[in-house]
């Protein structure tokens, strides 16, 4: 397992675990970040990332990307 923030652009991974505060984790789940789901990194600037999850593009901050384990 490694944090999503370490993944290179273009790679697809399976989400293993989502950490962080409960509310934020729930919000991510509502957006489609669920354990076992696929996540693809589209691009990355200074740790902020754009990822593709369940066919939609979501921008997440570095601190969030650190808490999503793939």
């Amino acid at each position: 397992m490694m944090p999503l923030s370490m993944v290179k652009a273009g790679e697809t991974n399976i989400i293993r675990k989502i950490g962080g505060k409960e509310e934020v984790r729930k919000f991510l789940e509502n957006l489609g970040f669920v354990t076992g789901g696929e996540v693809t990194v589209v691009s990355e600037i200074n740790g902020n990332m754009i990822v593709n999850v369940k066919d939609s593009r979501v921008a997440i901050g570095k601190d969030m990307a650190n808490k999503i384990m793939v």
């Binding site: 652009a9 509310e23 354990t35 589209v42 902020n48 754009i50 066919d55 921008a59 997440i60």
Partner: protein, 834 residues
């Protein structure tokens, strides 16, 4: 019977486009009670008894964002007759997550699968009949952008609502979860309608705190929750979420066929690879912003503002510019004569002041009879002193070179005979509103004070504000375009890390950039910031950036006190930017701004070309809401201020004053009372106080007011005539403090109106205005008191207080602060309890 249909769906799924297509112009826009979430209602085209309610875009019915709470309270509390669930076909899996929750509300749902045209282009297929069977609701295909299938969807929704069909829930979870849901449903009392029980049961299992506020009696379900959590080794909410996604995955392969083609990444992904590229992102962003700024503030915008201020709310303008060039030619031809007349009169005044004065009094009087003027000219030119006068006048010729011309009585007379060209005689001249109203008032013999109120008070005041409307509309077109094509969401992503450091959002950059042209559209541009806290912070700090109207004040102070030094102007921008950064850092550590969402998570919509109609509609909605504001608050404020400026005790009685008598107006009296407040800032002179107050109408008024107060009827934009007198009245360091105070304090009425509109909350509005003014006062105080040390003029007490302020300020800046990462939604129960 009236029917209510709620429009629900994810953000960026085309909901607003569908809403506009369904309702046309028949819309009412407001805010949900107590919150700054936009509420839109409209009547369905062709069905005056059907109301469509546009719910905010949401991902689920959980209580984590304001939008979700608002939508949920409406659906559960108001119980619309049907839900039209719009679903983005290109992203169906995630969209169905919300749909499964909507089905549980016990309200008939019809699903409209949007973006079918794009799906077909990609070669993907969605089998509507399968989807309908698996979800237990009617499904139709639409394209909101192209308008296909919309009518069918609306008709089906109306049918469904009329039938008041009972709802069957087709999707199901794992058996053990279903068993627990049934057990909890059985425990719920009769205060919850049967068809809503499943929704409440699931929310109770999810340990959703806010749901309890909506129930009269809350059953204890901790045993069931414990059982599920033990079984799945997870918390209940995640279990339910996973169950939902599992059901969706189980049906998605039956319902959709994906072509291989779309696997390689969509067009949007490809654009994103460039636009949000690590190296290219900032240059592209800078280029886009430059273009927006250049067109909407510098070129088209300033042209539009000039037209509105000098044309519509000025003397008048040439329709389509017909006659403008002819007039300009004539004006150029006349210019040398004008220079000759002016130069001759100047020389005459030196030589024979009395005679000259007699003449100019008649000559300058616009209402004088022609015969009187002729007589005056005769008397003047026949005067012996004038007859022998010859003077040299500089006349600017073509190509900027100057020519010295000798002017004597003869040339003066010829010059006088030349007719000054009137723009109204050329082309198609449309008189300005003040001229029209003025003529109308003269025609009906209106009393002087009333026409003064109407022309100088209302028309001038509201006109000054409405003059910005054309420019704002130009700007709003750009904003609407950037927003609906999907770039705005990327802006937030690109700029977020920089702005996050001082408590602002990535999108705060746009209001601030626009604010350097005019604060009003700047504040209104903050609408694009979804996060409530970021938006409020942006609204509060945007007007710190010196806007166009503050430039004359900068020019005045720089000219009168600092020998036109360039550093004054750039330091003004520096002060503005520093005020924004410091305010951001200080405010985000206060209680008012703490505790709301901090982590950055947002969906980026797919890029698409917006329709002209949608862009124009969005522009008009924003523009109109501002115009309405100008019609109320700003109108009232300008009338009050006009009264204070134009009435007072002169010549022993109370009455209306001449412009030159401003020093005996009520405003002057108020100025004298409040002037001591500004004494610690070094400019406790009532004239300065009055000038600062009139700056509330429009900041450029500060210069004009100084002009009147120092005895000039009219001064140049930078007030060059009064530099000497102003320079003598206060010390330079106090003047710089005055400048800073005017830059940072409460903005003009128009901008305050915009702040009130965008805050949508009286308490926050006053907090913003109060914060700005207090900050301005403290900074100006510190500048004067500490600056005085260097000029050798120390006030011990003041200096100590100033140093304390500085120390306190530094403390507020650096005090420890723990970034909040909880998502707190505080929604008054009243909002839905009714």
């Amino acid at each position: 019977m009236s029917i209510k249909i709620a429009l629900a769906g994810n953000p960026n799924c085309g909901k607003t486009t569908l809403f506009n297509a369904l309702t046309g112009s028949n819309q009412f826009v407001g805010n949900w009670p107590g919150v700054t979430v936009e509420k839109k209602e409209g009547k369905l085209k062709g069905h005056s008894d059907v109301t469509i309610m546009d719910l905010p875009g949401i991902y689920s019915l959980s209580p984590y964002t304001l939008e979700e709470v608002v939508a949920r309270n409406y659906l559960v509390g108001e119980r619309p007759d049907a839900i039209l669930n719009i679903v983005d076909g290109t992203n169906i899996e995630r969209n169905l997550y919300l749909s499964t929750q909507l089905m549980e509300l016990g309200i008939p749902v019809i699903m409209a699968v949007n973006m079918m045209d794009i799906l077909e282009k990609n070669g993907d297929k969605i089998h509507l009949d399968k989807l309908s069977e698996k979800l237990g609701c009617p499904v139709v295909a639409i394209s909101a952008l192209k308008g296909t299938g919309i009518k069918e969807a609306a008709d089906k929704a109306v049918d469904l609502a009329k039938k008041a069909a009972t709802v069957t829930i087709a999707h199901s979870f794992a058996d053990s979860v279903e068993a627990v849901i049934s057990a909890v449903e059985a425990k719920i009392g009769s205060d919850v309608a049967d068809e809503q029980k499943r929704f409440f049961a699931i929310k109770l299992i999810e340990k959703d705190d806010k749901i309890k506020d909506m129930m009269k009696s809350v059953p204890d379900v901790s045993a069931e929750v414990q059982k599920l959590e033990d079984e799945f080794d997870d918390d209940t909410e995640s279990i339910i979420t996973n169950e939902r996604y599992q059901y969706i995955s189980s049906i998605i392969h039956d319902c959709c066929t994906k072509s291989k083609k779309s696997e390689g990444g969509s067009v949007s992904d490809k654009i994103d690879k460039v636009v949000t590229n690590r190296w290219a992102a900032l240059p592209i962003f800078a280029a886009v912003m430059f273009l927006v700024y250049y067109i909407s503030v510098t070129t088209v915008g300033s042209w539009a503002t000039d037209w509105a201020n000098d044309g519509v709310f000025g003397d008048g303008w040439h329709l389509f510019g017909i006659g403008t060039s002819a007039y300009n030619d004539a004006a150029d031809e006349y210019a040398p004569y004008d220079a000759e007349i002016k130069g001759f009169l100047e020389a005459a005044e030196e030589k024979a002041p009395d005679v000259t004065k007699e003449f100019t009094e008649v000559y300058d009087d616009e209402d004088a009879q022609e015969a009187d003027v002729d007589a005056a000219i005769k008397a003047f030119t026949s005067n012996s002193a004038i007859k022998s006068l010859t003077t040299e006048v500089n006349i600017a010729g073509e190509d900027e070179d100057e020519e010295l011309v000798n002017v004597n009585v003869a040339t003066f007379e010829t010059a006088l005979e030349q007719e000054e060209p009137d723009p109204a005689d050329y082309g198609v001249w449309v008189p300005g509103i003040p001229v029209l109203i003025g003529n109308g008032l003269d025609a009906i013999g209106c009393a002087d004070w009333l026409s003064g109120l109407i022309l100088d008070g209302i028309v001038a005041g509201v006109g000054a504000v409405l003059g910005f409307v054309p420019q704002m509309l130009v700007l709003f077109i750009f904003l609407a375009f950037l927003e609906s094509c999907g770039y705005m969401a990327r802006v937030a992503f690109i700029m977020d890390r920089i702005f996050r450091k001082f408590g602002l959002s990535g999108k705060s950059f746009i209001p601030m950039l626009i604010g350097s042209g005019c604060g009003v559209p700047g504040v209104m541009a903050s609408r694009t910031i979804e996060n409530d806290r970021d938006r409020k912070m942006t609204i509060m700090t945007t007007t710190f950036i010196p806007c166009g109207a503050k430039l004359p004040i900068i020019a005045l102070i720089a000219g009168a006190f600092f020998d036109n030094a360039g550093w004054v102007a750039w330091s003004a921008y520096f002060v503005g930017i520093a005020a924004i950064i410091c305010s951001g850092i200080i405010l985000k550590k206060t209680k008012m701004f703490a505790g709301e969402p901090a982590p950055f998570v947002m969906e980026l919509p797919a890029y698409h070309m917006p329709t002209v109609e949608n862009v124009l509609r969005s522009m008009w909605e924003r523009g109109w809401s501002f115009i309405k504001k100008a019609g109320t608050i700003i109108l009232l404020s300008t009338i009050v201020l006009w009264f204070l400026m134009n009435f007072g005790w002169a010549d022993g009685s109370f009455g209306m004053l001449e412009a030159e008598q401003l020093d005996s107006s009520i405003l002057a009296a108020i100025g004298s009372v409040i002037a001591p407040i500004f004494a610690p800032l070094g400019w406790g002179n009532w004239k300065m106080a009055v000038a600062a107050i009139t700056g509330l109408i429009a900041k450029e008024n500060v210069v004009a007011t100084f002009g009147i107060l120092f005895g000039f009827a009219e001064v140049a934009e930078d007030g060059a005539e009064i530099w000497g007198q102003l320079g003598a009245s206060i010390v330079p360091i106090a003047a710089y403090g005055f400048l800073v105070f005017n830059l940072l304090c409460a903005p003009c009425f128009a901008a305050m109106g915009a702040i009130k509109r965008e805050m949508n909350n009286t308490k926050w509005f006053w907090f913003a205005i109060g914060y700005q003014t207090v900050l301005a006062y403290i900074v100006a105080f510190c500048i004067y008191q500490i600056g005085s040390v260097f000029t050798g003029n120390i006030h011990v007490v003041g200096l100590i207080i100033a140093l304390l302020f500085v120390a306190g300020f530094i403390y507020l800046l650096v005090r420890p602060y723990k970034e909040s990462d909880t998502l707190k939604v505080d929604m008054k129960k009243k909002a839905f309890a009714k």
